[in-house]
């Protein structure tokens, strides 16, 4: 593309975290003024790659990386982000790093302010120089107009719409005179469509001025519109390097998801429709990092219902909101009766149970024994394992019943422990997860929410956990709502799967639907496939 040496060349870069390979043989190059679109599922290795490029300390402290990175033909190995910045790499993060009480100007020039001399400098040193407000304003305005946008430089960051915040972040990188390469990590994720368009236009402007970019986004249409080349990462490898003119959304999505599509067709036999047991209408949940904006769906009795989607889009918020753990609104009814939100005790009393994704925080009393953990919720909510004296005036813990129940579950779930009295903190992740499940099963719920049941546990335990869920569903008729980041896992267990994107249900498909269709829903683009039952979520 560019004549001579490309700006950035990545040569067979790889990385292992404690024997766990997350990147292998990544090769690509980026010319001056080119825009490279980087796509991939969560955990495909995008962040690791950017961390390597940026010299994040986490890379060096876990044993460095393999391969070489060349900037302008010279090999670079940054040991801190500051070195990367000095070399001309700018990064715009997904979450804003703006100071709310600072103006646009102050934020853009943070720690790079223009200053003026005064005599006290001789005594107290450089830091006592006074700020040159006029000069700062000029520089900020110049940086903003470079992007091709206009904001009042005196506005406080706290009072700006998200779109303007994003522009301010970019302007901050532009103001560094030497910025040659700009890395944008999901810059449009928080923007409205019109704002995103302006941003895309601005980025084109910048690239025409010779600034190269790596653009990470899960909105594939943007990637196609903006980028000069597209690199698809999957499981730490580049599976496809292509140009937008040679491909389309559908192809990219299938490269991203990519696994064997046939494998899951042997999932579950189709089941007859039953009445709705859980109806969720316009639910919003204020869970930091997993905000749910407007979710509407219904789950049938006896169903295993999956909730999938990319990280941070709000899939975890749904169960947490219904169970009352985070501030929520909208309406949720169980078996036809509306439940009171924001009250965990109430949700539990309506025959619902929750296995939290936050196993060690919400799920377990880490310092207590297994039997206590398993019995705890049932004891609190249902008075199980309680002996009453004097007509209920005094309540005793029924240790014998607790032990019996615990031993039953230890056997059933194959919990590896020394005894039922072992403390939960001493168990491995997989066994902790089994204790969490047992705790929920003891309550005997009609509806069971399970969030990320297999996260961080080994393959054997994974299979056992999923099999147990299936068994409980079949034998007890428990309705299960399972939230997971792993689409394949959902497809192998669930009857139907809802995909959450940007806090909204972007579509509900039977588990047997093709993987690419789910992939597209995750990218926020509704594929034009008719016939399947699309539920709610019309923004």
């Amino acid at each position: 593309m560019a004549n001579g040496e490309p700006l950035l060349r990545v040569e067979s870069v790889g990385k292992e975290f404690f024997g766990n390979r997350v990147l292998a043989d990544v090769d690509f190059s980026l010319g001056h003024g080119e825009i490279l679109g980087l796509v991939g599922e969560n955990g495909a290795g995008k962040s690791t790659l950017m961390n390597i490029l940026f010299g994040m300390p986490v890379i060096a402290s876990t044993g460095g990386y393999e391969g070489r990175i060349l900037l302008d033909g010279k090999e670079v190995k940054f040991s801190s982000p500051f070195e990367a910045i000095d070399a001309g790499i700018g990064m715009v993060h997904q979450e804003f790093s703006l100071l709310p009480g600072f103006t646009v100007t102050e934020n853009i020039l943070l720690n790079r302010e223009s200053t003026k001399y005064n005599p006290l400098v001789e005594v107290f040193g450089e830091r006592i120089r006074t700020l040159d407000r006029q000069g700062m304003k000029k520089r900020a305005e110049a940086a903003i107009s470079e992007i091709g946008f206009s904001i009042d430089t005196g506005t406080f960051a706290a009072e700006m719409p998200v779109g303007h915040k994003q522009f301010t972040e970019i302007a901050r990188e532009i103001d560094r005179l030497n910025t040659k390469l700009l890395v944008l990590d999901e810059p449009t994720a928080v923007l409205a469509e019109s704002e995103a368009e302006i941003l895309i236009q601005s980025l084109r402007n910048l690239s025409s001025k010779g600034i190269s970019m790596i653009f990470i986004s899960h909105r594939l249409q943007e990637i196609l519109d903006l980028c000069d080349k597209i690199v698809v990462l999957r499981d730490g490898r580049i599976v496809k390097e292509t140009r937008p003119s040679d491909t389309d959304i559908f192809q990219i999505a299938s490269h991203m998801v990519g696994r064997n599509v046939e494998a899951s067709s042997a999932s579950r036999p189709s089941r007859p429709d039953t009445e709705a047991i859980l109806e969720v209408d316009k639910l919003w949940v204020d869970m930091p990092g997993e905000t749910v904006r407007d979710a509407t769906f219904s789950v049938q009795r006896g169903e295993i219902f999956g909730i999938g989607g990319l990280a941070g889009q709000g899939k975890l918020g749904i169960a947490n909101g219904i169970m009352g753990l985070f501030m929520a609104g909208g309406s949720v009814s169980v078996k036809g009766l509306v439940i009171k939100l924001n009250d965990p005790a109430h949700s539990l009393s309506r025959d619902m149970a929750f296995v939290s994704e936050d196993r060690r925080g919400v799920g377990l009393l880490l310092e207590e024994s297994i039997d206590w953990n398993i019995a705890f919720t049932a004891m609190q909510v249902q008075d199980k394992f309680v002996r009453k004296l004097l007509g209920g005036l005094v309540k005793w813990r029924d240790d014998a019943a607790m032990r019996a129940a615990t031993q039953e579950y230890i056997k059933l779930l194959d919990i590896k422990c020394t005894s039922h009295k072992q403390r939960a903190v001493e168990l491995s992740g997989g066994n902790q997860q089994k204790v969490c499940l047992a705790k929920a099963f003891v309550v005997g719920p009609d509806i069971l929410f399970v969030s990320e049941p297999t996260r961080g546990i080994d393959v054997g335990a994974k299979k056992l956990v999923l099999d147990t869920l299936r068994k409980v569903n079949e034998e007890r008729g428990t309705t299960i709502i399972m939230t997971s980041s792993e689409l394949e896992e959902l497809r192998s267990v669930c009857d139907r799967i809802a995909i959450v994107d940007n806090g909204r249900i972007s579509g509900i498909r039977p588990a047997a639907a093709p993987a690419t269709e789910f992939g597209l829903l995750m990218m926020g683009s509704e594929p034009a496939v008719a016939g399947s039952d699309v539920g709610g979520g019309d923004a």
Partner: protein, 381 residues
């Protein structure tokens, strides 16, 4: 319409503390029966006496370190300066200047220690500096009670080296030969600054003295703070005050800057304590500094400052309102219930109570603001 209601509510919430105190004063002033001339004179004196101390709190707040309860360290340093100067019988302005020169390095060292400790207790600066005040108070007492005294009484074994700081004036030293008396008369320094340039203005039937020289110093200091905010260092402190992580990732030396903020505050507090005591004229060796911290912080909070935001206006409004209550409440109590004692109780009750209330209000306000800012993220709401 809703917006305006919301704005008014927001205004009332954010200024609730001064509003409560203005209301209390409006009620108590007529009850106390003091003449306005007397009250104006009292307020002018007390503003001159206290403002500098309260101003010294501003810089750590700017750096996001909350109310610097550690200012008592500076007050202690100032008192050590005053003790020595009194012993050496240096009087007048030179005495004050010398006391300041002695106390500055002590305050700087104490501030450096305090800043380092606070860097290990990020997010819990206030309670840490409060307890640190007690700890350093122990050391101060050790020094003042034991290490200061008549020469030649405390030798390091085998060396013959005398480590006692020599103070010989029998009016200062306890009769046992070492340790400083509880109350010290600062005769030579009394009103040295206030009287350097004083101005008399007729006010009704009374004549009001304005200590112009002290006010000039305070005004100079205010200008310094305004100027300081415009320096690179001030800007860095503001950035740190808003978000330490962001400031750090932009390359600002966070820990060092925080230490500088505390050092400046401690040194200014030492200076403030000297101004305070020259006005009072007597020094309570073992108590003056304790009261200083509590009263300065209470005054600042009453002025409408919060743990995270304070301005120069807050200082003057706060000192005025707080001391108005201070002067008026015993008499108001006497008139109301027949016992001045009750007003006295009220005074103590107010000064401690207001700190508690202000801290609770701050937490509540922060909660309200968080709710307000998240409202957009929630459904219809």
């Amino acid at each position: 319409m809703i917006d305006m209601k919301d704005n008014i509510k927001h205004f009332l919430i954010s200024n609730s503390v001064p509003i409560i105190f203005i209301a209390l004063s409006a009620f108590a002033i007529p009850l106390s029966g003091f003449s306005y001339g007397y009250l104006v004179q009292e307020m002018l004196t007390r503003l001159a006496r206290n403002s500098f101390l309260v101003l010294s709190l501003l810089i750590p707040i700017m750096a996001g370190m909350g109310l610097n309860f550690g200012m008592v360290l500076g007050a202690m340093a100032g008192q050590i300066g005053l003790i020595l100067v009194t012993d050496w019988s240096v009087v007048g302005i030179p005495g004050l200047v010398l006391a300041a020169i002695i106390s500055m390095p002590i305050a700087a060292v104490l501030g450096y220690v305090c800043g380092n400790v606070l860097n290990r207790a990020k997010g819990r600066e206030m309670v840490t500096s409060y307890i640190l005040g007690f700890f350093i108070n122990g050391i101060y007492q050790f020094v003042v009670l034991y290490l200061i005294g008549i020469k030649g009484m405390l030798r390091i074994p085998f060396t013959g080296m005398d480590i006692r700081i020599p103070v010989t004036n029998p009016q200062l030293v306890l009769s046992r030969g070492y340790g400083i008396r509880n109350a010290i008369n600062l005769t030579g320094l009394r009103h040295a600054l206030d009287n350097a340039f004083q101005f008399n203005v007729p006010f009704g039937s009374a004549v009001i003295d304005i200590p112009v020289s002290t006010y000039a110093l305070i005004a100079f200091f205010c200008v310094f703070i305004v100027w300081f905010r415009r320096t690179k260092l001030g800007q860095d402190m503001r950035a740190i005050g808003q978000d330490m992580a962001v400031a750090d990732s932009s390359g600002i030396a966070v820990e060092r800057t925080r230490i500088i903020a505390i050092v400046i505050s401690t040194m200014l507090a030492a200076f403030g304590q000297i101004i305070f005591l020259q006005n009072i004229g007597t020094m309570n060796t073992y108590n003056s500094h304790d009261q200083t911290g509590m009263f300065s912080i209470a005054a600042l909070l009453i002025g409408g400052a919060t743990v995270s935001k304070a301005s120069i206006a807050n200082v003057f409004v706060g000192v005025t309102l707080f001391h108005l209550m201070f002067v008026v409440s015993p008499m108001a109590g006497k008139e109301l219930i027949g016992q001045a004692q009750l007003g006295e109780y009220f005074r103590v009750f107010v000064s401690y109570g207001i700190i508690a209330v202000a801290l609770v209000l701050h937490a509540w306000k922060r909660y309200q603001e968080r709710e307000r800012s998240r409202r957009g993220l929630r459904g219809e709401a």
